[in-house]
């Protein structure tokens, strides 16, 4: 029998374009089993797109994505859905189903995929809600929740099927420091307690540094740097230093491509 590979997800030579814009150009990346891996990069580098590619919500122009050794491009819809049952995904805004209560949102995957009794579903859902500290909000509707609470409910829903891989898309955006701290602790706790693999897409360097085992910095369609948060902090590359220390200007220019400032103000650029 083959030994289980350390790499749960492998991406080889990935190309992806959105219209005329090239998002990825020969991207190579591996996600290690059991680790919290962070994918970082300036806005617009395609971090969320990468998650969508890994889960085959979109397909690459070229390249191979292996999940546990299986090329996801070869899966039919049934195979794809079976694979997705191994994933839990936390969307940026929670993506809770607005016509269902908090309890029913968390119970949703169980009701769709299992034939558990209502009693058992209730036990599982309350356990997961307890883990994210929201057992008391079970009867609330998504509209009644704050942003942080909605994300915690979404996290409970993402892990209700006991996935192997939890994916977090910008989990810290727009949260107050307390909610952010709660989510950071939950990411680590879930990963270690459940023995799963976590992928976090974020550009919050401080938070990522406290939670990630390994980070990838993506820029211009490729991995610009990788390593532990400490290694990235000490990196000498201008791009890594600019990103990790939040400097306004550097390899990632502050100004978007534009005509000459003076010429444009004088209206000569339109002549």
């Amino acid at each position: 029998m083959d030994a289980v590979s350390d790499n749960l997800i492998e991406i080889h030579d990935l190309d992806y374009s959105f219209g005329a814009r090239k998002i990825f150009n020969g991207l190579n990346l591996t996600i290690k089993r059991g680790q919290v891996t962070a994918i970082m990069g300036p806005s617009g580098t395609g971090k969320t797109t990468l998650l969508r590619l890994i889960t085959r919500q979109i397909v690459p122009d070229h390249g191979v994505i292996l999940v546990d050794g299986v090329d996801i491009a070869t899966l039919n819809q049934t195979g794809l859905y079976e694979m997705r049952k191994r994933f839990g995904m936390l969307f940026q805004n929670g993506a809770l189903l607005t016509d269902l209560s908090v309890f029913e949102n968390v119970a949703f995957p169980l009701r769709e995929h299992t034939r558990l009794t209502n009693r058992l579903i209730r036990h599982v859902v309350l356990t997961k809600l307890h883990a994210v500290g929201l057992r008391g909000a079970a009867d609330m509707m998504p509209q009644q929740l704050s942003g942080g609470m909605a994300r915690r409910v979404a996290l409970a829903r993402a892990m209700v099927m006991d996935p192997d891989i939890l994916i977090y898309d910008e989990p810290f955006v727009g949260l107050d420091p307390i909610s952010m701290g709660v989510i950071v602790r939950l990411v680590r706790k879930m990963n270690d307690a459940l023995g799963i693999t976590s992928i976090i897409v974020s550009h919050d360097v401080q938070e990522i540094s406290t939670v990630a085992d390994c980070s990838y910095l993506i820029s211009k369609g490729k991995v610009a740097a990788s390593g532990s948060p400490d290694e990235l902090n000490k990196a000498s590359s201008d791009l890594v230093r600019q990103f990790m220390h939040g400097m306004a200007d550097g390899p990632v220019a502050f100004h978007y491509d534009a005509p000459d400032y003076a010429e444009q103000l004088l209206g000569r650029d339109t002549e």
Binding site: T55, M89, N93, P109, H113, R157
Partner: protein, 254 residues
């Protein structure tokens, strides 16, 4: 100019083909959804049907009342006011019932379907379902489509019935048409074929309006503006399609 025309035609044919494939997918999933998730369909019949009752009943009543008034006024020139019941019934059952109900349905239930599905898309709810290995077409779109398809003929029947009551109230209670003549003339003139024509129309309109509503919602650009546009298009395209189908079915029936 010819190039624009070519691209517009190309887009139209491509969209029309995609719409047909989408319709086939809905039909393919429908038996499973009806069998396994009947509760979802019932909830959508309630949403599209029961919640549209107020507008259908009020509109039906006044359309029937106006038909009664107009019928009485015109027929009394030929001393044929006793036939007003027959005229109102034929107009309602064959034509006005299905057509006006479909237009109101597109405005009330169709827009609700489009905007609901469009907003679910814009807030990543459909993507979240995909990620939970739940097919959003099967879970969200098909029950709403079936709910509309079932609700529309029922609403058209209610519209016609309430319309007849409106005509009865105006003609018999207010204008003094003999109640016996009103109903007897109606009974003699309206044939099963007329009722069948109305039923066929309401079913076809129900399928068309529901399909367009869920299609527009599912393919909405996931922004506030995109969902708004999809909702507007649902009403406009549904109204045009309903009137075209009305002409075609009437032409075939005659």
């Amino acid at each position: 100019m010819f190039r624009d025309l070519y691209y517009n035609m190309f887009d139209f044919v491509r969209t029309f083909g995609a719409l047909q494939l989408f319709f086939l997918r809905l039909l393919m999933y429908s038996p499973t959804v009806l069998w396994r998730r009947f509760g979802l369909v019932v909830a959508q019949i309630h949403n599209a049907g029961a919640l549209s009752l107020v507008i259908i009943i009020i509109s039906g009543f006044f359309v029937g009342a106006v038909l009664g008034l107009q019928g009485f006024s015109n027929l009394s020139r030929f001393n044929a006011e006793d036939s007003v019941g027959a005229v109102a019934a034929l107009a309602l059952v064959k034509e006005l019932g299905p057509v006006i109900t479909a237009l109101l349905f597109a405005g009330r239930a169709g827009t609700a379907l489009s905007s609901e599905i469009g907003l679910m898309k814009a807030t990543d709810q459909l993507s979240a379902m995909e990620m939970m290995a739940v097919n959003p077409i099967r879970r969200v779109v098909v029950p709403r489509f079936l709910g509309g398809v079932v609700a529309m003929p029922l609403l058209a029947a209610i519209f016609s019935m309430v319309g007849l009551l409106g005509a009865h109230l105006v003609c018999v209670s207010l204008l003094g048409v003999d109640v016996g003549s009103f109903w007897q003339q109606m009974q003699q003139s309206v044939e099963v074929a007329d009722i069948n024509e109305g039923i066929v129309k309401s079913i076809v309109f129900g399928i068309a309006a529901s399909l367009l509503a869920v299609w527009e919602g599912y393919n909405a650009i996931p922004t506030a503006e995109g969902v708004g546009r999809a909702t507007t298009r649902t009403v406009v395209i549904s109204a045009i399609v309903v009137l075209i189908f009305d002409f075609m079915i009437t032409a075939v029936a005659i």
